[in-house]
Subunit: 456 residues, 2 copies
């Protein structure tokens, strides 16, 4: 192969610094997941196709990566089926497994499969890659990690409260201050649709409403009209477009709009409970904000809907989201299991921390000291010392070859190794080491104890 190798589009290699930064985010999230009482699970990268297919809509089905059956995969296909030369017919015959598309469906499958081993309510977290055959674009990849925490088996609104606290705790721990945790409730959207006589147009209605920030009030109304929502209905929405003030004031306006809708009032009650609790508990650095236009994954959520936006001065879509779904495991035959969960957008959080310079300086610190190799005898003596340092947990290296001094120093420089030890014949006899600080250029002679102290 003469041509330089490459990787599939939408995938990425990560170098040491990137791995370190990504794992800093993941470890921070993981630590808070654990503090909040969530337990880790891991599921296989591929599932049986029938576990995944049909769970994400037609578009989802298309975006699921299918794995070709091994061996004689054409053998079991009838001539009729084969001669149809149809992807639809063939796919299910030649592929029985598919790569995980998200962590929620595998989680639901896990809960049903292991229901007898699980203590409910079951608080689980899962940090694993997922794959989607999406068209790759800036910030959208075909392989990416999801970081999810969910509780299944309790309808208590304290869960929603704790998830808001968890978002706040994670972003505070990442020093990412000023994120906005937006909250809405599917029941409020249903209530509004009811009030304006558009129960059957809930999706059209929320899709239009969702654009309020982008296209403005007039265009939103036009779109609603074009979807067949009556002018009378739209006029009842007027207070919605001018919902102002803090959480409490907005709730009062919503109460006025939704006074005739039972489900709408239920949604308001839930939001009030959550808001009161959060006001009592106080968030460290995040702000909780009611956003009636928030609709994400509407067909999915049945109660609370969450979305987190980066601080205002950063241009970036949502960096987290989630919500409650009343029948998480029903798709696998286990009824009445309410679930609520949130997800962290690793790649976007990465970009935000990068843009704001919030990664700790020491994050990618690797080797602390390089021992220069002056030849076999010296190197052997060095390795004795390197071994001792390593046994005490210090990251130390011996340059493997007796290469030119300049080459070895360059290696230390380019690797950002802050200290270099030079042990020549003279030092070998006297058992002192010449320690060079690569930043200041200073060098002085030290004994082992001192060397160890300085490196720590």
């Amino acid at each position: 192969m003469a041509q330089k190798p490459s990787i599939p589009k939408g995938t990425r290699d990560f170098n040491a610094e990137e791995v370190a930064k990504r794992s800093y985010i993941m470890e921070t999230i993981k630590a808070q997941f654990q503090v909040y009482g969530f337990q880790p699970i891991e599921t296989p990268s591929f599932e049986n196709s029938d576990t995944l297919m049909g769970k994400y809509g037609d578009e989802g089905d298309r975006l699921i990566f299918k794995i070709l059956n091994s061996g004689e995969f054409l053998k079991k296909i009838s001539d009729n089926d084969y001669n149809s030369k149809s992807e639809g017919v063939l796919t299910s015959k030649i592929s029985e497994k598919a790569l995980r598309y998200d962590l929620t469906v595998p989680f639901a499958r896990y809960v049903v499969q292991h229901q007898n081993e699980i203590e409910f309510p079951f608080k689980r977290y899962q940090i694993q890659p997922v794959w989607r055959a999406d068209r790759p674009q800036k910030g959208r990849f075909r392989e990416f990690f999801q970081c999810d925490a969910d509780v299944v088996g309790s309808t208590s609104l304290f869960q929603e409260v704790e998830f808001i606290q968890l978002y706040d705790a994670v972003f505070s721990a990442l020093n990412l201050e000023g994120v906005t945790i937006k909250i809405n409730n599917r029941k409020i959207l249903s209530g509004i649709a009811e009030v304006i006589g558009a129960q059957d147009k809930l999706i059209d209605f929320t899709v239009a409403l969702d654009k309020l920030d982008k296209i403005g009030e007039e265009k939103v109304k036009e779109e609603m009209q074009s979807k067949g929502i009556s002018e009378d209905g739209i006029s009842k929405l007027q207070p919605l477009f001018i919902l102002k003030g803090d959480f409490g004031n907005q709730i009062e306006s919503l109460k006025a709009i939704l006074s005739s809708s039972e489900i709408g009032l239920k949604g308001i009650e839930e939001l009030e409970f959550i808001n009161t609790a959060i006001s009592n508990l106080k968030l460290k650095t995040a702000t909780l904000q009611l956003d009636v236009t928030l609709a994400r994954g509407l067909n999915y959520y049945t109660g609370a809907i969450f979305e987190v936006s980066a601080p205002k001065d950063v241009k970036m879509g949502s960096i987290g989201g989630g919500g409650r779904y009343d029948d998480l495991t029903g798709i696998f035959g286990l009824k009445d299991m309410s679930g609520v969960g949130i997800s962290f957008g690793l790649d976007r959080i990465y970009l935000v921390l990068e843009e704001l310079g919030l990664f700790p300086d020491t994050i990618a610190d690797s080797t602390k000291v390089l021992f220069i190799n002056f030849g076999e005898n010296e190197a052997m003596a060095c390795l004795q010392t390197v071994t001792k340092l390593r046994q005490n947990g210090l990251k130390a290296e011996l340059y493997p070859d007796a290469a030119k001094m300049k080459k070895q120093m360059n290696y230390a420089n380019r690797r950002n190794i802050p200290f270099v030890v030079l042990v020549g014949e003279e030092e070998l006899k006297s058992e002192v080491f010449t320690l060079k600080n690569m930043n200041s250029g200073e060098q002085h002679k030290v004994e082992f104890k001192e060397l160890e102290r300085l490196l720590k």
Copy 2:
């Protein structure tokens, strides 16, 4: 879907305890990789098929999981090709990507692709899953993690020395004492083949020799004969079958056998250097042992060959292996890059630690304290305290529902939560907490400061 869902054969779900134990092993390995100056990289789960195909032999090609192209994957196939109904013809047309089969080929691809950003010698580690369409059996899975460390760009034997130290450091850190690090050298095998006039039968010869432990001297000789190795040649091997004593003695015997083989003597010289260095440096808990029958992946290695066996009282295949390959990146067009590396067998190490009871007791410790939920007001007050504890890094939970006391206590019991806090109306007023030790059954009243102290 009425039927209980399942996962593909050869794959596994991991529960909280298993995740914790696996990550204990991986974190221990990772910490030593870093102390030894290795840097992490990560590569995509799937590669372009031409990156992987043809790199692992015919058997390997068959065991690689191929990913079906998305969309209209039949469109580009000619009628001729289609009508052949041949898996061989179709596979490359309908699949352009394949799941990673090991970490070495992707590493070689990475090095070539990023050669201008890399400082050589490049010491990288990589801990990621790989996939093989092998027939699943006890201890063999279709998805499993590999933990690899390799150096590329130096022929220095100090690398081999350090890898032996690294094995010793990792297994010592895991408290797995008494592992045997077996070493051989491809050059010695080549030398022996040369001496007995069977250069062209090196593979047959080593395959037979490799069975010495299992089938004994006579059967090995029979097998060699059946493969066409002359009786005269086999008789020259006699000293090989009675190689006894320590490393030094075995080396002396080998010198006698290989005195006429240049390459054989080179192999001996390398082994001697490594053995002398390790004798000087001393291993903590492992033993280095020369094993002339060790051949693993013969077509691959060109110098040192390593394999690690579990302590003698544990029945288990190798728990690690590796070696030197002189032309690691040649397959991708970058010549003269010698590589040497080792791998840790996560699944087998797991089984060994489990069998010997070596996992630390505290490894799967999750939630430390559960606050019993007596109703909305009490729960709200509890959540204040839970929040404070969490902010101080303590793993705490509030039971989300005001369920029956027995149910909540059962939850704590089954989750192995060691402490439970009961805050009823009375406690709410006096701001003291009743803390119950779930092991002893004792309970007493404490203030917050005391609560925090006891839980830490």
